[in-house]
């Protein structure tokens, strides 16, 4: 049957490919325009009608970004945020997630519902009190304050709990019989098995931290303490809009995450599919 219908199905596949290619090109067109604009001069960028390609490929826009904002500081702040938050969440969320999945203790249900409540509430509800807290401990306008709220995550705990629930309990039983204590069971047996869940959590945390805008804007006032996401938002000029520079700045800020995605694409897509849209 497959052979009889092969020419028909080839034609159907061609039609599907045609639609997908056109749509995929439309999806990447903004990136193409962004990259081309970075190489243009300001006059070229303001040309009517706009031209697809620059006359010559110049790198002035990138140099201007480095002069205009403390890009390297901001980059370092972003990297530091991603690393500390990811490591902290992997530790705290996997421990708590394991406890909620596999250890019995009084009030486990109640405590878990409290965590779910944190997940349901819109993030913005925390901002003003968190600012007050940072102010009272003298951390306003510090990178520490910018990082702190992301060290703990109810969502990450929920994710890890769901993952640990899918692992067979018999493994833990066997290890206990061999004399391993509960921490050893967690650390030596369950954690290695939970690797796919840990990777999903790490990717989700890294992506979310790299792109975070609102909290850094709220808590930071010195530009060298901002992360990149908030940092490049300060690029817009007061009088003229220098599009080549804006495009160069946005490209430099988004590129590390895009490169990471292209390297780990399968992990990324699986990770986002398991973490949903939160």
């Amino acid at each position: 049957m497959a052979r009889v219908r092969s020419s028909e199905s080839v034609r159907a596949h061609l039609a599907v490919h045609a639609v997908l290619i056109i749509s995929a090109l439309a999806m990447v067109f903004p990136f193409f325009w962004q990259v081309m604009t970075t190489f243009k001069t300001q006059t070229e960028a303001l040309q009517v009608p706009p031209q697809l390609l620059p006359a010559t490929f110049g790198f002035d826009a990138y140099r201007q970004v480095l002069q205009r904002i403390p890009f390297v500081d901001m980059f370092n702040n972003s990297v530091l945020s991603v690393v500390t938050r990811t490591v902290a969440q992997l530790i705290f969320c996997s421990m708590a997630g394991y406890a909620f999945a596999r250890l019995r203790f009084p009030f486990r249900g109640t405590l878990f519902v409290m965590l779910l409540a944190i997940m349901m509430v819109p993030r913005e509800i925390y901002l003003i009190p968190q600012t007050e807290i940072m102010k009272s401990v003298g951390l306003l306008d510090t990178v520490t304050a910018m990082i702190a709220p992301g060290l703990f995550s109810a969502f990450g705990t929920f994710l890890m709990r769901q993952f640990f629930l899918t692992l067979p309990e018999s493994l833990a039983e066997a290890a206990r019989l061999d004399g391993a204590n509960r921490f050893q069971v967690f650390y030596l047996i369950m954690l290695p098995l939970a690797k796919p869940g840990l990777i999903a959590l790490a990717i989700f945390t890294a992506l979310w931290t790299w792109n975070e805008l609102l909290w850094p804007l709220v808590i930071i006032s010195t530009s060298s303490n901002l992360n990149l996401s908030a940092g490049i938002s300060t690029l817009s000029g007061e009088y003229v809009t220098d599009y080549p520079m804006l495009m160069a700045g946005s490209l430099m800020a988004e590129l590390p995450m895009i490169v990471l995605f292209l390297v780990l694409q399968k992990r990324f897509i699986e990770g986002i599919a398991t973490t949903g849209m939160k």
């Binding site: 159907a12 999806m27 706009p50 405590l111 965590l115 790299w210 599919a273 849209m277």
Partner: protein
């Protein structure tokens, strides 16, 4: 079988240790559990639980520029009712959420195409559609500001080639919200496609074959079999989409600056909250705004759960 033996063996194995701490096996397990959740709950107590309570408290307080706080009861909530800026922000957030829902049928369309049996280059397409998902929203907003530009943006240039007059996308009320919502769709589409694609892959192919034998055409099979089968996934994607849309901040903040002539008419709930709380420093009123956002999200989500009975099929 092992259930009866295991605890006894375990207590033998732990015999040496339990003499130090005179705790039963169950108590030891509970203690371990509390130790495991302790770091998370310490952090959450300070950074999440207390702030929720504090935001509720603040919403009943008049806060000054200096330290003082006075209890004013429901004053802020009454003020919200006749604050035209708040109404504007709520309407804008609703428009944004409604336009944003177009992402769902688009994602179903592309996921169905990607689900074609034996399709080549699948992972290549997936990567291209997914690229905007990992792209920083700040950068996305900056790029689309240029794409939407009246004079030198490629979108109006494309319209001109097709014989249409230029549109001032970002400087007209309502149109600006629709234009930014379209960017939201562009950046979230890949994620919805992946979620719906994983739903589609759970539809057993023999169902389709059986329907095909019975003479059902491809469209009929899609609407009668595929769509009902993946309706729980569609529902999940739609609910998460609306919740995300009602909290939109990044794209509006970047694409509609204070220099924009329609800045005031283009605020959403969260950008207005940011304005009141962190530009005007009226923490009490800002807290009332954000509590209303919570109420609004709960109502809209509740409504969606109520409406799902009419179209979501659980197998």
């Amino acid at each position: 079988m092992t259930d009866t033996v295991a605890p006894r063996l375990r207590s033998v194995a732990n015999g040496a240790k339990s003499s130090c701490f005179a705790l039963s096996e169950r108590q030891r397990e509970a203690l371990t559990g509390y130790l495991f959740i302790l770091p998370l709950f310490l952090g959450a107590a300070v950074l999440f639980f207390y702030p929720i309570l504090r935001s509720f408290e603040l919403s009943f307080m008049q806060t000054g520029v200096f330290k003082g706080e006075t209890f004013v009861g429901l004053k802020h909530y009454r003020h919200l009712m006749d604050d035209p800026k708040m109404w504007q922000a709520m309407v804008n957030s609703m428009i944004y959420a409604l336009v944003g829902l177009l992402e769902v049928p688009l994602a179903i369309f592309f996921a169905s195409l990607l689900n074609t049996p034996g399709l080549r280059f699948l992972s290549f397409y997936r990567v291209l559609f997914f690229l905007p998902v990992v792209t920083m929203p700040t950068a996305v907003g900056m790029v689309w500001q240029l794409l939407y530009n009246v004079d030198y943006g490629p979108i109006n240039q494309g319209l001109a080639l097709a014989g249409f007059p230029p549109v001032s996308w970002l400087t007209q009320p309502v149109i600006v919200i629709v234009a930014v919502a379209a960017v939201g769709i562009w950046s979230g589409l890949g994620q919805s496609i992946i979620l719906i694609l994983s739903g589609l892959q759970t539809v057993p192919p023999d169902l389709h074959e059986a329907a095909e034998m019975d003479g059902a055409g491809p469209l009929q099979r899609f609407f009668r079999i595929t769509l009902p089968m993946i309706s729980p996934t569609i529902f999940l994607v739609a609910v998460l989409n609306v919740i995300k849309s009602l909290q939109v901040f990044d794209l509006i903040y970047i694409m509609v600056g204070p220099k924009n002539p329609v800045f005031d008419q283009a605020q959403t709930i969260v950008t207005y909250f940011f304005e009141v709380g962190f530009v005007e420093h009226d923490r009490g009123y800002a807290a009332a705004i954000v509590i209303s956002l919570l109420a609004m999200i709960m109502m809209v989500t509740g409504l969606q759960f109520y409406l799902q009975k009419k179209w979501v099929h659980y197998g």
